[in-house]
């Protein structure tokens, strides 16, 4: 197990390295001049040139990449200009490790932007996760236990609807009616959890439902299928033959086996969601990582795009690794050393 974790960590590092390198390469292949966005309408070529030099965009790709990697480890300063550092130290922006870069259009370090956006995405992801797991897994169990009867058909039918409606549609409907027209909940605006938990939840309930609607649908079907399969296994028959009570058979014996693939899928879904729920955040104007990512693309903020790609892919790769390791703990038959 220990060696397995070590190997996986090593491969995570390698993968993140490859991803950043690829993204950086795309950054360079792009015809857009990143310096272009450093100033607004009153740009002159001289200013552009100056900015380009200051931000280091005139240097070869490898050097820039090297500085990016170095910045991740030890931190960086913008602009990287010895002269300026000596003359006007107050104009230097410090970006501590891990430095994700500097956004020319926002004139801030990306670290700052991410640290503001991250709690929002985290809140949305975790809340939606809990909601969809309860509804999805719970619904799936009820459907499986009542296979073929009306409960089953209703639940599966609703799940199908939930699955087919686009998130933006559900989001807009929820925004328009419960929030705006009926005023049941405030129009979502992020309030930190530590500031006011009740308000935090009230503001996020709509995005939570929007995401949960979609994910719960697939978890209903997943749970139902696994549950039906598990309940026909021989060890369930043995548990019944031992005289184990009905509910204990379903939960202690059945659900325990079903949880393995469910938790695996959930881990991966959560990992992806932590990188930001783009559509939901846009619909509800919550400035999480997803919103940040979209914004960076529309403004062609290449350093931010690179940073966002790196963050999202790191989440997914790490989630993948954690799920595989967890599997080794959950299923005693799995030997992770191959």
């Amino acid at each position: 197990m220990f060696y397995y974790i070590l190997r996986r960590l090593a491969s995570v590092v390698v993968m993140v390295f490859l991803i950043t390198a690829t993204t950086f390469a795309l950054f360079f292949a792009s015809p857009i001049d990143p310096a272009r966005y450093t100033c607004g309408k009153n740009c002159t070529p001289t200013i552009l040139e100056g900015n380009r030099k200051a931000l280091g965009y005139d240097q070869p790709a490898t050097v820039q990449y090297g500085k990016f990697l170095a910045g991740l480890v030890v931190g960086r300063e913008f602009p990287d200009n010895e002269q300026l550092k000596a003359d006007h130290p107050e104009q230097i922006v410090k970006c501590p490790a891990p430095c994700l870069g500097y956004s020319p259009s926002q004139h801030r370090t990306i670290n700052e932007m991410v640290s503001e956006a991250w709690p929002i995405s985290l809140s949305i992801a975790v809340g939606a996760f809990i909601l969809w797991m309860l509804i999805g897994v719970g619904g799936g169990i009820v459907a499986a236990l009542n296979k073929g009867k009306w409960q089953d058909r209703t639940i599966v039918g609703t799940a199908l609807i939930g699955f087919s409606l686009p998130t933006f549609f559900v989001g807009l409907v929820l925004l328009t009616f419960p929030a705006i027209k009926w005023g049941w909940v405030p129009i979502p605006k992020y309030v930190g959890f530590t500031e006011n938990p009740a308000l935090w939840a009230a503001n996020l309930i709509l995005p939570w439902i929007t995401l949960a609607f979609f994910f719960a649908a697939s978890y209903v079907r997943l749970t139902r299928a696994y549950m039906i399969e598990t309940l026909s296994e021989d060890y369930i028959r043995t548990a019944n033959a031992k005289g184990v009570a009905k509910w204990a058979v379903i939960f202690k014996h059945g659900l325990r086996a079903v949880l393995t693939p469910i938790v695996t899928a959930a881990g991966l879904d959560l990992g992806g969601l932590l990188g930001g729920a783009i559509i939901t955040e846009s619909v509800f104007s919550l400035h999480g990582l997803g919103y940040l990512a979209v914004h960076s693309v529309t403004t062609m903020d290449l350093p931010t795009i690179v940073a966002m790609v790196m963050i999202v892919s790191t989440f997914i790769v790490v989630a993948n690794m954690l799920v595989d390791i967890a599997y080794g703990f959950i299923d005693p038959r799995v030997k992770l050393a191959k």
Binding site: E233, D234, Y235, R237, T238, A239, N240, A241, K242, G243, V244, A245, K246, A248, H253, R256, A257, I330, D331, P332, R333
Partner: protein, 339 residues
């Protein structure tokens, strides 16, 4: 005499889209404590369905179970779900064919056996563990306290089946149903398991129903034999009679078609022609008639009349339309020389 287990006209029918599957269609037999009944049959004979019906494991499924199952003066078919659940694993227990799939892969052997105790008795986990370790030792598992914390997949096939037996017997049930317990095991392991079951029966005095398709196993362990075909009993006798004077063409067919370890069959095996019947379309009349080579000797048309289970000799019943004396004659002339 009050028999411990009495089954009376048991029927288990499954309604399906293609018709009614008459898995068990009128089964009657009984069993005394401390004895072993071997139920012999092939796939589709209804033997496993019978055992599940006794345990009440068809409840909640589509099966329609009718008849009477008397266990110690309680009609199991009339008990409530909760009543029969309390009996399962305590008064009657079952072991299955494949011990690897029959045990939960995520719980240790110790946990599963402890559960078997604590479902029926209010004891602490610690107290239960003592009983479990003791039982594991009794069934011949070495280092039982270490094995307590191991998972089923860490046991060998034979050890697993011993653990299953331990799990079934841990509450000292009066009835043990073993559904092909040794079919998946190597022959040397099978011998050990059969010996174990015999020893435990002597010790606990339980009644055993042994379901198998292996006539050798039946001869070794059973006191009485019940041959099933097409959901019905076709022959029911004490084991010596069943093997020395079998009285039904299907039983003859089974015996002549089997190669034997103790003699070299010089001529060809005589198989039973055709295939086991589909339980949805059981042949009319005698279910065995399409495969029977002795139809011409019946006293009534086999394809129309359903034969009754009739006692042809003391403690020996058969279900056949050929008159008993004629059957004895046919056996002596045609079957016995081949065995």
């Amino acid at each position: 005499m009050n028999k411990f287990l009495r089954i009376n006209d048991l029927k288990v029918h499954f309604p399906t889209d293609d018709g009614v599957v008459k898995a068990v269609d009128g089964l009657t037999f009984d069993l005394a404590k401390g004895t072993t009944l071997g139920i012999v049959g092939e796939s589709g004979s209804g033997k496993s369905v019978t055992s599940l019906a006794i345990m009440g494991l068809h409840r909640g499924s589509r099966a329609k179970v009718s008849g009477e199952i008397w266990l110690d003066d309680i009609d199991l078919l009339k008990t409530t779900d909760e009543e029969i659940r309390a009996m399962r694993g305590r008064k009657m227990a079952m072991i299955f064919q494949d011990p690897l799939s029959a045990m939960h892969p995520y719980y240790t052997i110790g946990q599963q056996l402890t559960e078997a105790i604590r479902v029926h008795h209010h004891v602490s986990k610690k107290a239960a563990k003592v009983t479990v370790v003791d039982m594991l030792a009794r069934v011949g598992i070495p280092s039982p306290d270490k094995r307590f914390d191991q998972y089923p997949h860490e046991f060998s096939g034979g050890m697993r089946q011993r653990a299953m037996i331990a799990m079934a017997l841990i509450n000292n049930p009066e009835l043990l149903i073993a559904d092909e317990p040794t079919t998946a095991l190597d022959v040397t392991v099978q011998a050990q398991i059969l010996d174990l079951m015999r020893d435990l029966q002597k010790e606990f005095g339980s009644a055993i129903i042994m379901i198998t398709h292996d006539l050798g196993v039946v001869a070794e362990i059973a006191d009485d034999v019940l041959v099933m075909y097409g959901g019905k009993c076709v022959e029911y006798a004490e084991v010596d009679d069943a093997f020395h004077a079998p009285d039904h063409p299907y039983t003859w067919g089974l015996m002549t078609s089997m190669p034997r370890l103790d003699r070299t069959r010089l001529e060809r095996l005589v198989p039973v022609a055709g295939n086991p019947p589909s339980l949805i379309n059981i042949p009319p009349g005698c279910a065995f008639h399409p495969r029977c080579t002795f139809r011409e000797f019946a006293s009534a048309p086999c394809d129309q009349v359903v034969p009754e289970l009739v006692q042809s000799y003391p403690k020996h019943d058969s279900r056949c339309l050929i008159p008993a004396p004629k059957r004895a004659e046919l056996f002596a002339e045609q079957i016995a020389p081949r065995l």
